[in-house]
């Protein structure tokens, strides 16, 4: 993996237009909703909760695999949104902002609880495991569930090693399935920047994984 290290400049896109995906987050329908919440309109806040509660819950449940904790953290996420929406500056989409708060809350929770054996202590049921088997055709179905759970546990730990922004970006890409173009529109960054950030995050995760493996090997 030696060739993976170092900053790698990505070339500009050939057509010269794909690199820039500017979306005006100030003049959308969503921005109007945010402004109403900023003016302390309770109905607008209710609309935001109802619009994003499933998404927020899914993100948290995907990381923690515990419904009670997911519910508790989801409530905290919306409380945080309520108190800090005045600081929302429309530089990114509301979803990106909410996503970042949600992932940060998950990692704050993990840090506070010092959850080590995350998956095994959760309420991950046999039913969940079956769903997991069937949910993603990209994952090799021959891989045993316990190995996949261990991989989940490991990737949650590794994600704690990268910055908040990188973490949100890679999760939006891999977990929520957004394309590079969509990420550019959501974040206000250009596509090349998104690609560079994603690549570097992948590099960092691999390096962190090999470091962890070395430590584990040295410890045995």
């Amino acid at each position: 993996m030696s060739s993976l290290s170092g900053a790698i400049p990505f070339p500009a896109t050939k057509d010269g237009t794909r690199g820039r995906t500017r979306v005006d987050h100030r003049n959308s329908e969503e921005a109007a909703l945010v402004r109403r919440v900023q003016a302390r309109d309770e109905m607008a806040f209710r609309e935001i909760v109802e619009r994003y509660q499933s998404k927020v819950f899914s993100i948290i449940y995907g990381i923690l695999r515990n419904r009670n904790d997911a519910e508790d953290i989801a409530q905290q996420v919306f409380a945080k949104i309520y108190f800090s929406i005045r600081n929302f500056d429309f530089r990114s989409s509301l979803l990106t902002w909410i996503y970042k708060i949600t992932v940060n809350e998950c990692y704050d929770y993990l840090r506070k609880k010092r959850v080590r054996k995350l998956v095994y202590e959760s309420d991950f049921s046999a039913e969940d495991a079956q769903r997991m088997e069937a949910s993603d055709p990209a994952v090799d179905p021959r891989t045993p569930v316990d190995v996949r759970l261990a991989q989940r546990d490991l990737i949650v730990k590794l994600l704690a090693k990268v910055s908040e922004q990188d973490r949100s970006l890679i999760l939006l890409k891999e977990v929520n399935g957004h394309s590079v173009e969509e990420l550019a529109a959501m974040t206000g960054l250009n596509e090349n920047t998104i690609k560079v950030k994603l690549f570097r995050t992948r590099q960092k995760l691999l390096k962190a994984a090999s470091r962890l493996t070395r430590i584990r090997t040295a410890g045995t």
Binding site: I8, S54, F57, I59, F78, V139, E174, L198, F199, L205
Partner: protein, 162 residues
């Protein structure tokens, strides 16, 4: 990893790479190995996808509002309690207050030292076993020299205090 693969890594990870990239991966062992590691990582990340029916229980909005009411508006004190920066400011303020306190106390003590008008600021009494005798002799000297009642009183007061 070679630039060709690097530039198209999102396609490679998704398994939809173009023919030239696929051809390079077949020929280059290093790129093949790195691409495989990133694909495995991507698969592990996708394990974080929640099942489709992951939804909060009914009445979620009401519970959120209850929590908001319980937490109340953010207080200025939360800034000090909840953030590391705030805690540092609080510690620095305490240290500063302590320093100021020490300074005030020490300067008050210095002000309490007996300084007689027209005399050098010398200790009236250096205590030891012969302290009473020395006080009396100083009293005698001062009565012979400037003969000041105030000086005698100050010496006596200082002796008693110490």
């Amino acid at each position: 990893m070679h630039r060709l693969v690097r530039d198209h890594i999102e396609d490679v990870v998704a398994g939809v790479e173009a023919a030239p990239v696929a051809e390079h991966l077949r020929a280059c062992e290093e790129c093949r190995r790195d691409a495989a590691a990133m694909r495995a990582q991507s698969a592990a990340l996708r394990e974080l996808r929640a099942p489709d029916d992951a939804e909060p229980r009914p009445g979620f909005y009401a519970r959120v509002m209850e929590r908001i009411e319980a937490q109340g508006p953010a207080s200025i004190w939360n800034l000090f309690i909840e953030s590391a920066f705030g805690r540092r400011i609080a510690v620095a303020s305490l240290a500063l207050a302590l320093l100021l306190g020490v300074y005030v106390i020490s300067s008050e003590r210095a002000a309490d030292q007996p300084i007689l008008a027209g005399q050098q600021a010398q200790p009236a009494v250096v205590l030891g076993e012969d302290a009473p005798g020395r006080v009396i002799s100083q009293m005698d000297q001062s009565s012979m020299g400037q003969s000041s009642d105030d000086a005698v009183l100050v010496n006596l007061v200082t002796y008693q205090e110490q």
